[in-house]
């Protein structure tokens, strides 16, 4: 048991180290110059060179890598070149919209997917099942940015129910900010409901065929109790796993969705950082997101280990 945990912990540290290196390599081979972007269109080559020196961009690669590792180990991701604030601050400021967008999308996706998935499995092969399965597949085929654009046109511009973009001005109340999240969460949630629906259906089918469900039925238990109490309860663990997985996928979806809706979240921060060549921000954001993913995975592994001691790594 302890060995398993230690092994896994060691593995995680190795993965983290690899993540840190991959991020540095990707970011530093990127062409383009943050100094030139900052100084504007009429800047001279000499101006740009002196700003590069000030930003530490002219140091040799190994030196830059050393500085970077030293910072990362201390939890210091450096200073954003463009925003002129620490990367950690920039990320913290952007965390809220991304967090709530992910939570709401997941909520919407789950609220749609669970009942549809359960009923599909229960009425396997029925018209409902076929329609639901096809619709789920259709939802998974729609580019989420496209859906977002259609939502903006219809709900925000034509009907005027929501703002088209942004996250409220200074001093916007929490309710106002949430209002800005409705459309993006809907666009993202609908698209990601597909995966959960299909997985719920498959897991339910698995258990509906199991012996104890048949036994429960043969005992004359009501159908509703059979489905909800016995089958669903047992299908819950794989379903929860897939919901967790979807949460990770949502961060990817959030990148595009945040950009469409002008939400100042972590996803749009990365996109603009790439366009501005704000190296420290790209590094920091990628590190934090990938790091979270590794940590969450580790936590899940530990959970499984606690639930089922036979699991070995």
């Amino acid at each position: 048991m302890l060995r398993s945990i230690l092994n896994r912990l060691l593995g995680m540290i190795v993965v983290m180290a690899l993540v840190v290196t991959i991020v540095f390599v990707i970011v530093r081979v990127t062409p383009g110059d943050p100094a030139a972007v900052m100084l504007g269109p009429d800047a001279t080559a000499a101006d740009i060179a002196s700003l590069r020196t000030r930003l530490g961009l002219d140091a040799p690669m190994p030196v830059q890598f050393g500085r970077y590792i030293l910072g990362v180990v201390q939890g210091d991701f450096g200073q954003s070149i463009f925003l002129n604030q620490p990367v950690t601050t920039a990320l913290a400021q952007r965390a809220e919209p991304t967090f709530f967008l992910t939570v709401f999308s997941l909520l919407i996706a789950t609220v749609i997917a669970l009942p549809v998935g359960i009923l599909s499995a229960y009425w396997r092969g029925s018209l409902f099942d076929q329609a639901a399965t096809t619709l789920a597949m259709f939802a998974a085929s729609v580019p989420s940015f496209w859906l977002g654009l259609l939502f903006i046109r219809f709900f925000a511009v034509r009907l005027g129910w929501f703002d088209t973009s942004g996250y409220g001005g200074p001093g916007a109340s929490f309710a106002e900010r949430l209002n800005h999240l409705v459309l993006p969460a809907l666009a993202l949630g609908l698209v990601s409901s597909a995966l959960i629906t299909r997985f719920t259906r498959a897991s339910m089918l698995d258990v509906l065929n199991d012996d104890y469900v048949r036994t429960a039925r043969s005992k004359g238990m009501s159908e509703r109790r059979v489905v909800m109490k016995h089958a669903f309860k047992n299908a819950l663990i794989p379903i929860l796993t897939v919901i967790g997985l979807t949460a990770a996928l949502l961060i990817s979806g959030a990148v595009v969705t945040e950009t469409v809706f002008g939400l100042p979240g972590v996803g749009s921060l990365v996109v603009s950082a790439v366009l501005r060549r704000d190296y420290p921000v790209i590094q920091g954001a990628l590190l934090v997101i990938a790091g979270l993913y590794v940590l969450v995975n580790f936590a899940i592994d530990m959970l499984y280990l606690a639930v089922d001691p036979r699991v070995r790594y």
Binding site: V15, L18, V27, V29, S141, F145, V274, A290, Y293
Partner: protein, 287 residues
């Protein structure tokens, strides 16, 4: 499509079984149709794809221009046919590239115990990045060209395949006839190719179909964000990205390529589902 022609030794009549499922048959039919349209683009297309005609820009759909014209007066239908070529080619190339990396990594991790830990950790590290984010960063690093988009998406999707291949390899490695072959001193590469690779074809085929679908969506997403393939090369993604600016004056510029993506991705998923049910008995029981 092309994936179907890959020999699958334990399922020789896979194609006919696939056609036996109505949903897969429909998916397959759509794919064949789109592939034909793409291949025959120079024959079918009524215009040259790059022919500018500033005077007839933003013309709505008509007999002369089935899907209307774009902002530079080019025929949208023609460009969609040529876009199908690039979009499908990009998707297919991503699958091939991801497969090559995935198979090599997966085989190495699965077959050689010593390599398992380092390769698996590398795969874990790659999987830790959300796919679009990693693709954006990679394309920015490599430069926004079609080839680099393929490379970036290939790198993004390879770990998934590597995991599948590794898992299958781990199982196959322990099979009696593989052990026997090792005992007989048959060189490892031959064992890998003859026994292992043949047996992982099915999961690769299934995964590959879904990666194909994902790659088409991802390419569109990258183009939409303006960090993908150069807009001068027509792909469905780049056409939407340009068409978005004319959403109101010329909705057709964005609607038709968008529909093409939805239909193609849907068809790929239908086929992928069918393949999985037929080839992967573990998941086939919901039929």
């Amino acid at each position: 499509m092309a994936a179907i022609s890959v020999p699958v030794h334990q399922e020789p009549n896979i194609l006919s079984r696939l056609l036996g499922r109505p949903t897969s048959a429909i998916g397959l039919a759509i794919l064949v149709l789109i592939a034909l349209a793409a291949i025959l683009a120079p024959v079918i297309a009524p215009y040259a794809p790059a022919k500018l005609s500033i005077a007839s820009r933003l013309d709505p759909p008509s007999m002369a221009h089935l899907f209307g014209t774009d902002d530079l007066g080019r025929d949208v239908f023609t460009r969609m046919l040529y876009a199908a070529r690039t979009s499908l080619a990009v998707g297919l190339a991503v699958v091939v590239f991801a497969s090559i990396i995935g198979i090599v990594l997966g085989l190495m991790a699965g077959f050689f115990r010593k390599l398992d830990a380092p390769v698996s950790r590398l795969i874990d590290a790659m999987m830790a990045f959300p796919d679009i984010l990693l693709a954006i960063a990679l394309v920015a690093a490599l430069g926004a060209t079609a080839v680099n988009v393929i490379i970036a998406l290939g790198i993004v999707y390879a770990p998934r395949l590597a995991r599948v291949v590794r898992a299958s390899t781990l199982v196959i490695r322990e099979l009696p006839y593989v052990e026997a072959a090792r005992a007989l001193g048959i060189p490892t590469p031959i064992i890998l190719v003859r026994h292992v690779l043949r047996n992982v074809t099915s999961p690769i085929l299934v995964q590959g179909t879904f990666i194909f679908a994902n790659a088409i969506l991802a390419e569109a997403g990258l183009s939409f964000l303006g960090v993908g393939i150069s807009p001068s090369i027509p792909t469905w993604g780049t056409m939407i990205a340009v068409g978005r600016q004319y959403m109101d004056q010329a909705g057709w510029m964005m609607m038709f390529p968008g529909a093409a993506i939805v239909i193609t991705v849907l068809a790929l998923q239908l086929v992928g589902d069918g393949l999985r049910d037929l080839l992967d008995p573990r998941l086939a029981k919901d039929i």
